[in-house]
């Protein structure tokens, strides 16, 4: 139970970073912290007491396996998170070329 609460606290740490930080790259890193806490929560869901890694060994088949479905879901979600972070970094680089600064208080061209 304590591990799930720690995952949620990590999520809140990431969200605090997104809200408070002024540098663009630090906002992107805080987003990555948020997504990693979600993956950790997902992978911890499948744990069954006394289970081993879910790889079938034809020699001795009769064991209790840990749930393999959340592991497959987390693998897919990691790749999706990679694509999102890469796109965010590309936009940040181009923003630096146009505005000349990384500070988010200077980038307010669209108002109203």
């Amino acid at each position: 139970m304590i591990t799930y609460v720690l995952c949620f606290i990590l999520f809140l740490v990431g969200m605090y970073g997104v809200i408070t930080m002024r540098n663009l790259v630090k906002i992107a890193i805080s987003l990555s912290i948020m997504e990693f806490s979600t993956f950790l929560f997902f992978a911890l869901l499948g744990y069954i007491d006394g289970g081993v890694a879910p790889i079938v060994n034809p020699a001795d088949p009769n064991k209790i396996y840990v749930d393999p479905l959340p592991q497959a879901l987390v693998l897919t979600a990691i790749v999706i998170g990679l694509a999102t972070t890469a796109l965010l970094m590309a936009v940040i680089i181009r923003l630096y070329r146009k505005y000349g600064t990384f500070d988010i208080r200077e980038i307010k061209n669209l108002r109203g």
Partner: protein, 512 residues
Amino acid sequence: MNPLIPLFVVTPLAATFLIMIVGRFVKEFNKYYTSLTLLFLVVMSFWCLIHTGGNVFVYKVGGWQPVNKIPIGIYMVLDGFSAIVVCIINLIGFLVTIYSISYIKRYTSENYFYALFCLMIAGMNGVVLSGDLFNIFVFLEISVISAYSLVAFGVEKNELEASFKYQVLGSIASFLILFGIGFIYWKTKTLNIADIKAAFSTGYDKSFYIFTQLLILCGFGLKAAIIPFHAWLPDAHSSAPSPISAMLSGVFIKAVGIYVIIRLFFNMFVITESMAILITTLGTLSMVIGVFLAIGQWDIKRLLAYHSISQMGYVILSVGIGMILVSRGVRQEVAALAIAGGIFHLINHAAFKGLLFLNAGAIEYTIGTRNLKEMGGLAKSMPATSATSFVASMSISGIPPFNGFFSKLIIIIAAIMARFYLLAALAVIVSIITLASFLKFQRYAFYDKSEKNKIQKAKEVPYPMIFSMIVLSIICLLLSLLVLPVVRDAVLTPAIDILMDPLKYSSQIIGL
């Protein structure tokens, strides 16, 4: 019928990568191939709409049959409600492709535009047609990543800033959705929507249930731009290129936002009264605050983006009224009327908001500015644009005989019959303020007589753009026929039956 369902996703996905290879060597390949693919998808989606009726078609990916009545494998489900939204996505996508044949010549690298556009269509089709909770998340991410890139397509200062804001807020929403999916998997040990409904019907833990519903509502509410989560919408929809604005505002916030909220709350969760009252309150706030923020705008596309928030508030208001009545268990026919009004307004809004954004793009194409104070007297030099813009403005304000009148009438009648008099009065007031705002748009853009230098050079836009705008305005007129009983029973009644009956969706899927 069953094995044709994945074609909606596989065809645009193959088209994306074919365009990226062949488009480098053959010059004109990308436009014609995209138009052909989308034409094929439009024909197939209308065929599916006619043949679906009240049945539910299920396709199991990979052919994995259920074991001991427990569904393993990923299901793709096509029923009455999905068929309507698939038709909207593909039809508006086809018309926007024809429009962008001449609009995108302004930008470099057209190749990537058509590839990303096909990928967005594939993602949206996947969200609408999926019957499995994590599959919705994966296709949601595919379509949303292509939307982020398309908003930042012309790399100027405004577009990059709008895309950055959209990305940060959209990523937070995606992680909230993933957290919600994790909670649901923890308690029910399955990911199939019909199976989760069966698991929730037996019994659930109350505090965890409210937390999960709030997580899913916040996540998908941000994608649908309901009022506390609307901050990205004016920047993103006004800075994107005009065909992409029409696609985003007309289709995207419906297919990945409102469709998923309606599907999950009716067919997966057991509706409680407190959550229904919360959703109705959010819809009312969106409706009122959206239109008040829209009055003072002088930029055309920002004005239209704020009106999108208000009209989506109408849809959520009427669906919320239906949810309150279903959860109390009384007056089922009034609930059916409210949900019918909501879905009808969804279809109408796709048509007239897409047309309005295409008109704004045509004005920007000829004159080069988006500020209403610098325009005037365009009705003589751009006859097709001003006529279609008049049709769309009258539709959105709710003037008979256009389609907006009938859907707003059904929503107001349903609110009065359910004895929510305050909501009906607010709906009428918001409609009047919308009419005022669009009269201002028409006067400043088209009918004001003034001699400004830029206006002398205005001439009509090229033929592909006129074709799309005229077809959309004819559709606006034809959609008002949906209120007749014959057409209504063929199109809207199957959707309402699937949503309101608590057992029909899950029994037809698990029994197969």
